[in-house]
């Protein structure tokens, strides 16, 4: 049935959007960096998974355990070396936002350039677990279901860590009010670096997972960044549950447009949804919160 098909496929892709948006909401909501190069990390992770699989026949699911920690470490370094100087010298939030947008804009081109040099400009894809399985009458590939399962586990893990552990609560505190966070002895700079690195790790995880079933190109990053940004803004900055719901809505909406209207108009539909959400509620559908 078409409707079921759309919903299921939409949920899967929406789950992936939610996972990647989670990372960005950590980077923007906690570390207060608007990272325009976010999507490039997703593409880089996907390309790494591709190399691992085609070059060394390492399953992407194993590859996760290699790529994600590297991404964490790399993003930690980027925050400490590249972004902290901007945070330190910014007199107020607006200055930091503009500087971080432009610095990460530059970073975008660096990463894209490196990817193009190493991998060239062609399209990449590989086939892993692309066995169709019947779910509620629709044919879905096993790799998509596996990706969703992993995303769900990772997402749940992050959610629990953020809400049940002391360190997680500290990170949420920094997102809510960094000044008050200082007053409870939270090292805001360290928490920001951790959140930023964690965000980078999450987007890398997303990249590895989607590489199993999407076709890639070294310059596709911008589109992913845009979608992650839209999900974060629609769901409310810093809001984990909001990112989840917004991501799922986006996934379903996009799939519906692709199937019912035209696959070439998905980004336009996404934008339309984004604009509508902003016009109705400028603070995002769920506002700023950390539940």
């Amino acid at each position: 049935m078409l409707a079921v098909d759309i919903v299921l496929t939409g949920l899967i892709i929406g789950g992936m959007y939610a996972l990647t948006a989670l990372g960005l909401t950590l980077q923007y909501g906690v570390a207060r960096i608007m990272n325009l190069s976010y999507g490039e990390f997703l593409v880089a992770a996907a390309l790494s998974a591709f190399s691992l699989y085609t070059g060394m026949t390492v399953s992407p699911l194993i590859g996760l355990f290699v790529v994600v920690p590297i991404a964490f470490a790399l993003n930690w370094l980027i925050f400490k070396l590249l972004l902290m100087p901007l945070v330190r010298r910014a007199k107020n939030r607006d200055v930091l936002e503009v500087d971080s947008i432009l610095a990460t804009f530059g970073l975008l081109f660096v990463i894209q350039g490196v990817a193009l040099v190493i991998f060239g400009g062609q399209y990449f894809s590989y086939s892993y677990l692309s066995i169709p399985v019947s779910v509620l009458g629709s044919a879905l590939a096993v790799n998509r279901l596996v990706a969703l399962a992993f995303a769900a586990v990772i997402g749940l893990g992050i959610y629990l860590a953020l809400t049940r552990t002391r360190a997680g609560t500290a990170i949420r505190a920094v997102a809510v009010d960094p000044v008050s966070a200082q007053l409870v002895a939270i090292d805001v700079k360290r928490a920001s670096a951790f959140a930023y690195a964690l965000g980078g790790a999450l987007v890398a995880a997303g990249g590895v997972l989607v590489s199993m079933f999407l076709t890639f190109h070294a310059s596709m990053g911008v589109e992913f960044t845009m979608k992650a940004l839209i999900v974060v803004i629609m769901g409310g900055v810093g809001n984990v549950l909001g990112a989840l719901v917004a991501g799922l809505l986006l996934g379903i909406g996009e799939t519906a447009v692709a199937r019912l209207i035209d696959p070439g108009l998905t980004l336009a539909a996404t934008y339309a949804l984004f604009l509508a959400a902003l016009l109705i509620r400028p603070t995002g559908l769920f506002g700023r919160s950390t539940r």
């Binding site: 930091l96 894209q112 911008v222 589109e223 934008y271």
Partner: protein, 559 residues
């Protein structure tokens, strides 16, 4: 006048010299000239909008690409001038649509939206090509020589510089400068912020679109990926920022080294172009001591000085009655103002006092329109003003100062006051404005500092400047928010005398204060608030001896 003639002659001369280039240079240098010119237009157009409003637009290539693609679609169907007209119209329409949707939101949403805009347009155009045109990519066989492209670009460069120059001298330019520095001040000076940004965005987009259209014949084949290459937006931002987006000719200064750098890089390291460019850009962002915004603010073009005699300040309108009825404002669970009613007769000074957190500043914010009221009525001379936008209330004659002084730091005192004169209900602009501005500055005792930059003023002088700016609105009601705070004895006496002279000129003043000496000597009557509620209303001596008021300020001794 002499200076302007020299500039004009110089400009025309330069134009002639540049126009001769195609006749003298070989095709390599001509191509370089074309590159320099098209980036010059794009960078200057970018700075026209982003340099003044500080909204960083990453959408340059969206408009450029639309211009190019319009030529691809219509180039062989319509005569060239009409093609340009259509391209321009499409670009402006898109700018208005995007602007209306995003410019009312905060700057960061605009940046994000502009970032993805070119992707969006590219996808839409691709969809159109695939589904309606049935083939992606167009051939452009228009008979235009490189020299003709050069001359058109030269004309566009001259036009964009002329437009920028005219706007800088106009009210719109002043409005944008004020907006770029402090949107709150802008709104309270009567500036319609959204409209100003929108117009500027559309003008900027128009030039970008036309540039794309003019450049299109250079490619014989065009497809969405070629026309909407995001690198272009990036390159334009780099050039404009590096050259100095706050100054009209700044971006052009940035264009020259970068175009040469690009030539070098694409000739020698074509594969590493993106990486190197990204690194160069990041270096620029880090090297700027005040961040990118600091670069945008570096030097504001000055409006031309006009020599006139300062005239005495004249109150055109007498003070108005202000009536507040059942005013209420809550923030979530906290009720900041509860069922407040009071009145000020024309020419009265009314004190609004109360301990910290009593809601006084909130009341001022409600009257000036900075905050919307939840319930209640505010009337100025019988006219309801609750619910009108801040800039409309400012034009109706409610002026205010702020608890934390807000002056336009990088502008002179005269320009600060001129900014307020230009957008009030009865605007004064141009030749007459300077005289009135100097008169107002004399009124507040700033005659000899009139041409100094406001950031160099002492605290008390900044307060005086803010007052002059408020008076420039020809207010019927003046709201002073702790204007006398932080002053020493002498300054305090001067300040009190100044306010008294305003009352003598007939102005109605609402004074929020903690300096009780001032309240006692200035106010006709006082409204005392505590925890959002009015607890007393009467002459100062009586009110300040009232037991409830004393208890509110000093606290209760015991249960």
């Amino acid at each position: 006048m002499n200076r302007q003639w020299t500039w004009a002659c110089g400009a025309v001369g330069a134009l002639i010299v540049f126009a001769l280039v195609p006749l003298l240079a070989n095709s390599y240098y001509l191509a370089l000239g074309v590159s320099l010119l098209y980036f010059a237009v794009l960078a200057t157009a970018w700075a026209l909008f982003s340099g003044s409003t500080h909204y960083i637009s990453l959408a340059t290539v969206a408009f450029f690409g639309i211009g190019a693609y319009t030529v691809g679609v219509l180039g062989e169907v319509l005569p060239w001038p009409l093609v340009l007209l259509v391209a321009g119209t499409v670009g402006v329409t898109l700018a208005l649509v995007v602007g209306l949707s995003t410019l009312r939101l905060s700057g960061i949403y605009f940046v994000i939206f502009s970032f993805g805009l070119s992707e969006l347009i590219r996808q839409l155009v691709t969809w159109y090509e695939v589904n309606i045109h049935k083939s992606v990519g167009r051939y452009i066989f228009i008979d235009i020589t490189q020299a003709q492209i050069y001359w058109q670009l030269l004309a566009l460069t001259a036009l964009v510089l002329l437009t920028g120059w005219l706007i800088n001298r106009s009210r719109l330019g002043l409005a944008l400068r004020v907006i770029g520095q402090d949107e709150v001040v802008a709104r309270h000076a009567g500036i319609d912020i959204t409209k100003a940004k929108l117009v500027m965005f559309a003008v900027s987009a128009l030039f970008m679109t036309l540039t794309g259209a003019v450049m299109a014949p250079r490619w014989t084949y065009i497809d969405p990926a070629i026309a909407f290459n995001p690198m272009l937006s990036f390159e334009v931002v780099i050039m404009a920022l590096f050259g100095g987006a706050g100054v009209l000719f700044g971006p052009i200064l940035g264009v020259i080294p970068f175009v040469l750098l690009f030539e070098l890089l694409s000739a020698n390291f074509p594969n590493y172009f993106s990486i190197l460019l990204g690194l160069v850009f990041m270096v620029i962002v880090y090297a700027l001591p005040h961040g990118v915004i600091g670069l945008l603010q570096r030097r504001m073009p000055q409006a031309p000085p006009v020599a006139t005699m300062p005239q005495p300040f004249a109150m055109a309108a007498k003070g108005a009655a202000l009536e507040v009825r059942n005013l209420r404002k809550a923030f979530g669970g906290l009720v900041a103002v509860q069922d407040l009613s009071f009145a000020a007769a024309p020419g009265e000074i009314v004190g609004l006092i109360g301990p910290n957190g009593s809601g006084k500043t909130t009341v001022l914010n409600l009257i000036s329109g900075a905050l919307p009221a939840d319930a209640g009525d505010i009337r100025c001379d019988g006219r309801a003003i609750a619910g009108l936008g801040t800039h409309r209330i400012a034009r109706l004659g409610i002026a205010r100062t702020f608890q934390l002084v807000r002056v336009l730091e990088s502008m002179t005192a005269v320009d600060n006051v001129r900014a307020a004169l230009a957008f009030r209900g009865r605007p004064i602009w141009g030749v007459g404005a300077e005289a009135v501005a100097r008169g107002l500055l004399a009124r507040v005792g700033l005659t000899d500092k009139a041409d100094q930059i406001a950031s160099q003023f002492t605290y008390i002088d900044q307060k005086r400047l803010e007052l002059a700016r408020a008076l420039a609105l020809e207010p019927r009601v003046l709201l002073l928010d702790e204007w006398l705070a932080g002053l020493n004895r002498t300054e305090l006496n001067d300040g009190i005398a100044l306010i008294r002279s305003l009352r003598e000129a007939g102005l109605t003043v609402i004074l929020v204060e903690h300096v009780m000496d001032a309240i006692r000597s200035l106010c006709d009557h006082c409204v005392v608030m505590n925890a959002g509620v009015k607890i007393a209303d009467g002459p100062p001596a009586a009110v300040l001896a009232d037991r409830d008021v004393i208890r509110a300020y000093l606290g209760e001794a015991d249960a």
